[in-house]
C-alpha cells in the first residue's frame, strides 16, 4: 500500500495510513528521481563497450543499466537517466572510453 501511494503521485500519507513504527518497505527510493541533480551527463557508446562491468561496479547510484543476452551473459545497456547524478566516475573508470561526459541540456 505504501509503495503504491508513493509510486502513483508522491502524495504524503495521513497519520492513520502510516504503518505503526518507523517502517519503510524495501527499495522504495527508486520512486525518488535524482536525475535532475546532474550538471553533466554521461553518454554511452555501445559500439566501444566490451561489457567489462567496471562502470556498473563503480557507480554509486546503481544507475548503469544491464541486461542478459540469450547465453545469459551480462551486457551493459546504458544509463538510467532518472537516477544518474552525473558524477562521471563511470566515464573516468571505463577502460575503453565508451562513456563520455557532456554538458547537461536543460
Amino acid at each position: 500500500m505504501i509503495n503504491k501511494k508513493i509510486k502513483i503521485n508522491n502524495e504524503r500519507m495521513f497519520v492513520d495510513e502510516l504503518i505503526t513504527g518507523d517502517i519503510v518497505d524495501a527499495g522504495t527510493s527508486i520512486y525518488f528521481k535524482t536525475g535532475s541533480w546532474r550538471s553533466e551527463m554521461p553518454i554511452f557508446d555501445k559500439k566501444k563497450c566490451v561489457n567489462c562491468l567496471i562502470c556498473w561496479i563503480s557507480c554509486p547510484d546503481s544507475s548503469i543499466k544491464i541486461s542478459f543476452d540469450t547465453k545469459n551473459i551480462t551486457n551493459v545497456d546504458g544509463i538510467d537517466y532518472d537516477h544518474c547524478k552525473g558524477c562521471g566516475i563511470c566515464a573516468s573508470e571505463c577502460p575503453t572510453k565508451s562513456i563520455t561526459m557532456i554538458e547537461e541540456k536543460k
Binding site: D22, I23, V24, A26
Partner: protein
C-alpha cells in the same frame, strides 16, 4: 499456612530481584542483554545462572555498557525475538537516548528498573529520579509496591508491551524492595507461559523474505505524524493495560488497576504516592483512621500513561491532598507527580482542592510511619483551616536548622 490466591500458586520467600528473575525464567525471553549495576545486578546474575544451567534457552548478551544493553535489546526485538533487559539509576540515564528510540520504533521491550538515586553525589539507594528523568520517553511505566507486585507486573508487562507495541518499564524501589525478602506467590511455569503466550511480531528484520527498513529518517513532513502515533498509542494503552489485568485476574486471581484505592471513598484528606511507600502509608492510615480522621490513599500503579480520569474521579471529593514525590524537578515549579496530578485536576475543572507537594526519600532517606503521621497532621490542619496551604514544596525528613 498462608493461602494462595491462585489455585496453583506456591508461596515462597523472595526478594524483589529474585521475584523478577523468577518471572524472567518463566517468561523465558529469546534474548536478554544487560549490564550490572547496583541494586539491579542480582536480577541478571540469577538469570545468567539459569542460562548457564540450561534452565532457560534464552540468549544472554553480557554487553559492555547500558547503552549497548538497550541497543542490543532494541535490535533483538526488531529482529523478531522477545527481548528483555534491566538496569537502574546511572544505567537508565546512560540508556536514555535509546529509550526514546525503543518507543519511537514501537518495539515491545520489557525492562526492569530498580529505582535508585542519580549522581552526584553518587548514591545507590532508592528514589524515583531515574525513571522520572525518562517519564516522557514514550515507555509505559509500572511502579511496584512490593515483590509480589514486581513479579505480577513483569508478567503482565510482556503482554501489555506486545499488544500495545510499546516498551514497558517495570520499577521497584532499590533495596527497599529489590533486596527485601517477602512473601511472594509464584505461579506455575505452565500458567505463566500460557499467559504471556508466544511472541508473533507482524514484521521483523529476520523475516528476510519480507525485507523492510526500520529506523529511517523523518523530515518535517513525517516526524510529527509518527510522534503523534506514539503519543496516541501510549494514551490508548490504558485500555490494553486494563484488559491484560482482567486476563491476569482470571488466570491468577490477583486484581490490578491503573491505580489502587485505599480507604479513599469517604476520605476528606488523601495522599498520592508511587512505589513501596504506599505500603507504609497504608499501615499508618489504618492507625490514623482509628482516631476518626478520614484519610485515604491513591497509589499510582501505572504512571505512564498517566491515569488522568482515575485521579480526577478519586480526588474530586477530597478537600486536601498530599502528593508525595520521590524525585525533585529542581525547578521551583513542583515535582513530576504533583504536576501530573494538578494538571489532571485543573483540566477537569476541579480547582477547589488544596494540593500540597511533599518531596521525600531522596537517596534512600528513611520514610516511616512517623513521617506519614506528620504529613497527615499537616493536611488535617489545612482541612480545619488552622494552617494555610503552603505555596512551596515541602521536604520530608530533611535536616534543616
Amino acid at each position: 499456612m498462608i493461602k494462595t490466591v491462585s489455585k496453583n500458586g506456591k508461596i515462597m520467600a523472595k526478594t524483589g530481584n529474585e521475584a523478577i528473575a523468577e518471572a524472567m525464567r518463566q517468561i523465558e525471553p529469546d534474548v536478554v542483554a544487560a549490564y550490572p549495576i547496583t541494586p539491579a545486578t542480582e536480577i541478571v546474575q540469577i538469570f545468567s545462572q539459569f542460562v548457564s544451567d540450561g534452565i532457560v534457552k534464552s540468549k544472554y548478551i553480557a554487553v559492555e555498557s547500558e547503552h549497548s544493553a538497550l541497543s542490543a535489546t532494541i535490535a533483538a526485538s526488531a529482529a523478531g525475538s522477545r527481548a528483555m533487559t534491566g538496569t537502574s539509576s546511572q544505567g537508565l540515564c546512560y540508556m536514555s537516548e535509546m529509550l526514546y528510540i525503543a518507543s519511537g520504533l514501537r518495539l515491545p521491550i520489557v525492562m526492569t528498573d530498580v529505582n535508585r538515586a542519580i549522581s552526584a553525589p553518587i548514591n545507590i539507594h532508592a528514589d524515583h529520579s531515574d525513571t522520572m528523568s525518562v517519564r516522557d520517553s514514550g515507555w509505559i511505566q509500572i511502579y511496584s509496591e512490593n515483590s509480589q507486585d514486581a513479579y505480577d507486573n513483569i508478567i503482565q508487562a510482556v503482554k501489555i508491551a506486545e499488544r500495545a507495541m510499546l516498551p514497558v518499564i517495570v520499577t521497584m524501589d532499590g533495596f527497599i524492595i529489590s533486596h527485601c525478602m517477602e512473601v511472594v506467590e509464584v505461579y506455575r511455569d505452565i500458567d505463566v507461559k500460557k499467559f504471556v503466550g508466544i511472541y508473533k511480531p507482524k514484521r521483523y528484520l529476520l523475516d528476510i523474505k519480507n525485507p523492510y527498513t526500520l529506523g529511517s529518517i523523518d523530515l518535517q513532513d513525517y516526524y510529527f505524524e509518527h510522534r503523534y502515533q506514539l503519543a496516541k498509542a501510549v494514551v490508548d494503552s490504558k485500555k490494553i493495560i486494563l484488559d491484560v489485568a482482567e486476563e491476569f485476574k482470571e488466570l491468577f486471581g490477583r486484581e490490578y488497576d491503573l491505580c489502587e484505592k485505599y480507604m479513599i471513598d469517604d476520605a476528606e484528606i488523601a495522599m498520592i504516592v508511587l512505589g513501596s511507600t504506599a505500603g507504609t502509608i497504608k499501615d499508618e492510615i489504618k492507625k490514623i483512621r482509628e482516631e476518626g480522621i478520614k484519610i485515604g490513599l491513591l497509589k499510582i500503579r501505572i504512571y505512564r500513561p498517566f491515569p488522568v480520569e482515575q485521579v480526577v474521579e478519586n480526588l474530586k471529593n477530597i478537600k486536601v491532598v498530599a502528593v508525595m514525590d520521590r524525585s525533585d524537578s529542581c525547578s521551583g515549579a513542583f515535582s513530576p507527580l504533583y504536576s501530573d496530578v494538578v494538571s489532571s485536576l485543573y483540566s477537569h475543572g476541579i480547582i477547589d482542592i488544596k494540593v500540597v507537594n511533599y518531596i521525600y526519600g531522596l537517596g534512600g532517606r528513611e520514610i516511616n510511619n512517623l513521617h506519614i503521621k506528620n504529613i497527615c497532621d499537616d493536611l488535617n490542619k489545612i482541612l480545619l483551616g488552622i494552617e494555610k496551604q503552603p505555596y512551596e514544596v515541602k521536604y520530608v525528613n530533611i535536616r534543616k536548622k
